[in-house]
Amino acid sequence: MSASLTSLLYLIAAVLFILALRGLSHPETSRRGNLMGMSGMAVAVLATLVHAGMHASGYLLIVLGIAIGGSVGAVVARRIAMTALPQLVAAFHSLVGLAAVFVAAAALNAPQAFGIGTPGHLYVESLIEMSIGLAIGAITFSGSIIAFAKLQGIMKGNPITFMGQHKLNATLGAALAVLVILFVATGAQAIFWIIALLAIALGFLLIIPIGGADMPVVVSMLNSYSGWAACGIGFTIQNLALIITGALVGASGAILSYVMCKGMNRSIINVLLGGFGTDSGGAAAAAATGDRHVKHGNAEDAGFIMKNASKVIVVPGYGMAVAQAQHALREMADTLKQDGVEVKYAIHPVAGRMPGHMNVLLAEANVPYDEVFELEEINNEFSTADVVYVIGANDVTNPAAKTDPKSPIYGMPILEVDKAKTVLFVKRSMASGYAGVENELFFRPNTMMLFGDAKKMTEEIVQSLDH
C-alpha cells in the first residue's frame, strides 16, 4: 500500500478517536463513542499490518505481542473492582510511557523502518523529537508507578520529603537538558539510555513528595504527559494518528487536572509541590469536639425521619466508595420511592477521589443517571428538601469553604446541604475528611450524626424501613 494511503487510514483512525471522545458528552451516545474508539484502533492496527515490507518474523512477533498483551489487558479489565479504578488508570499510564520509551529505542536502532535516516545517522529533527518523546515517556512511566503504588497501598501515602529535594530535582532536570543536547548532536545509543534512566529517576523523585490523596490530580497530569509523549513519537515517525491522538489525550489530562484543582480551589503548583493531605481522610486529625453539642441518632431514627419526608437528596462521598455502600444505598432509595418519597442524588465535582468517581459507583448499583445531578443543577433544590442523606461525604458539604477565608478549602464550591430541613451525616467518627478541616455542620441543630460504616448503617436503615 502506498504511504499516502496508509497516512489516510491513520487520519481516519484519528477522526474516529475524536468522535469517540465526542460520544462521551452524553451517557446515551457514550457506548457508541467507545465503539468508535475501538474501530479507530482497529483501523490504525490494520493499516500498519498491511504496510509494505513487513517481514514474516515481524508478523509473528506482532501477533504474539498482541496476544500476550491483549489477554493480560482483557483479564485485568474484566476482573478489576470499580473501586480500584484510579490505580488501574495509573498502571495503564505507566505502560504507555514505557511503550513510548521502547518505540523511541526501536526507532533509534532501525531508523530506516521509519524513513528517518540510517543507524547512527538520524536526521537532527528526528533526534530532537525522539528525545522529547523519550524523556516525557520515561517520566510518565516512573511517575505513574509511584502513583499506582501509593493508590494501591503498596507504598505509604505520606509525602516523602527530604533536605535539598527541590535542588536535586533541578539538578537532574538540568542534566537531562544537557544530555538531550548531547544526544541530538551525536545520536549515541549510550546517551539515549542515560537519558532514559535519568528521566525515570526524575519521575520517581517528582511524585514521591506528593501525598497519596493528591494522586488523582497526579494521575490525570501523567495522563496528559503520556499524550505529549505520544505526540513526540508521532512527530519522530511522522504519524498522523499519533500526533492527533497525543494532542487529544494531552488535552484531556490537562483539563481533568484543571477541573480537579478548581473543584478543590487549589492551584496545580500547590498540588505538585506536595506535602498536602495524607493517605485518606479518616487518618487526618480527629476534630476536637470540645463541649459543643452533637446530636446522635441511629438507623431507626433515620428511617423514621426519611419515611415521613417527601423529598430526600442523597450526597455520596469518598466514604461510600470505601464502604462499598452504593448497592445498599440504591436499595434504600428504592424502598423510600415505594413509600412515595422523591429521591435525588447530588454529586460534587470532586466528591470521592477521582473525577466522576461517584457517578460510576452509583451507575454500578443501577442508579439511573437521570436521578443523578451535578452541583449547579441541584444546589438550589436543597432548600426544598426535607432530608439530605450525606453518606461518607464531608469536605464537599463544609460551609467553611464559604465563610472562613483562612480555611484551606476556602473558595471551593460546596453542596449547600444545610439549607434542607434535616441533614443526616453517615460516617464512622467525628474525624475530618481529605482536607483535614473540621466541619461546622456536625454541630448544627438540624444535623443528626449517624456514626458507623456507611454500608452497615444504610443496610440497617433499609431494615428499619421494611418494618
Partner: protein, 131 residues
C-alpha cells in the same frame, strides 16, 4: 569498437543519467506541487495545533458524570503508539529494534484491551430510568 562509437555511447549514457536525474527531481515535485518546498514539519505542526484545539473543545464537552470513563478511554486510544511499535517490529532488521518493538507492542496491547474493555464495563452501567 572505434573511439567515435565509444564517445557516442558515453554521451548517450550521460544524457540517460541526466534524464534520470531530471525524472527523479520531477518525481519529488509532481507528487507535491507547491508544498514540496515546505518542510512537512510545518504541516505536522499545523495538524498538531489544530488537534490541540479539537482536544480542548471535545474534552470540555464531556459531561462530568463520564469523567472516569474518559480517563479509561484516553488510556485506550493513547495506545495507538502501538503503530510505531508494529512498524519497528515488522520492518526492522536489527534484532535490538525488533525486540524493543515487540516489548512495546505487548505493553500497548495491554492498554488497548484493558482501556477499551474497562470503559465498556463502566459505560454499560450507566442506565436511564426504566419507565
Amino acid at each position: 569498437m572505434n573511439p567515435n562509437q565509444l564517445a557516442d555511447q558515453a554521451h548517450a549514457l550521460a544524457t540517460q543519467a541526466d534524464a534520470l536525474a531530471a525524472k527523479l527531481h520531477a518525481l519529488g515535485t509532481a507528487a507535491a506541487p507547491a508544498a514540496a518546498a515546505v518542510n512537512p514539519f510545518v504541516f505536522l505542526l499545523a495538524i498538531f495545533l489544530m488537534a490541540c484545539f479539537v482536544g480542548y473543545y471535545v474534552v470540555w464537552n464531556v459531561t462530568p458524570a463520564l469523567h472516569s470513563p474518559l480517563m479509561a478511554v484516553t488510556n485506550g486510544i493513547s495506545s495507538v503508539i502501538i503503530v510505531g511499535a508494529m512498524l519497528a517490529t515488522g520492518l526492522a532488521t536489527s534484532h535490538w529494534a525488533m525486540a524493543f518493538g515487540f516489548i512495546a507492542v505487548t505493553l500497548a496491547s495491554v492498554n488497548i484491551f484493558g482501556g477499551f474493555l474497562v470503559t465498556q464495563r463502566m459505560l454499560a452501567m450507566f442506565k436511564k430510568k426504566e419507565k
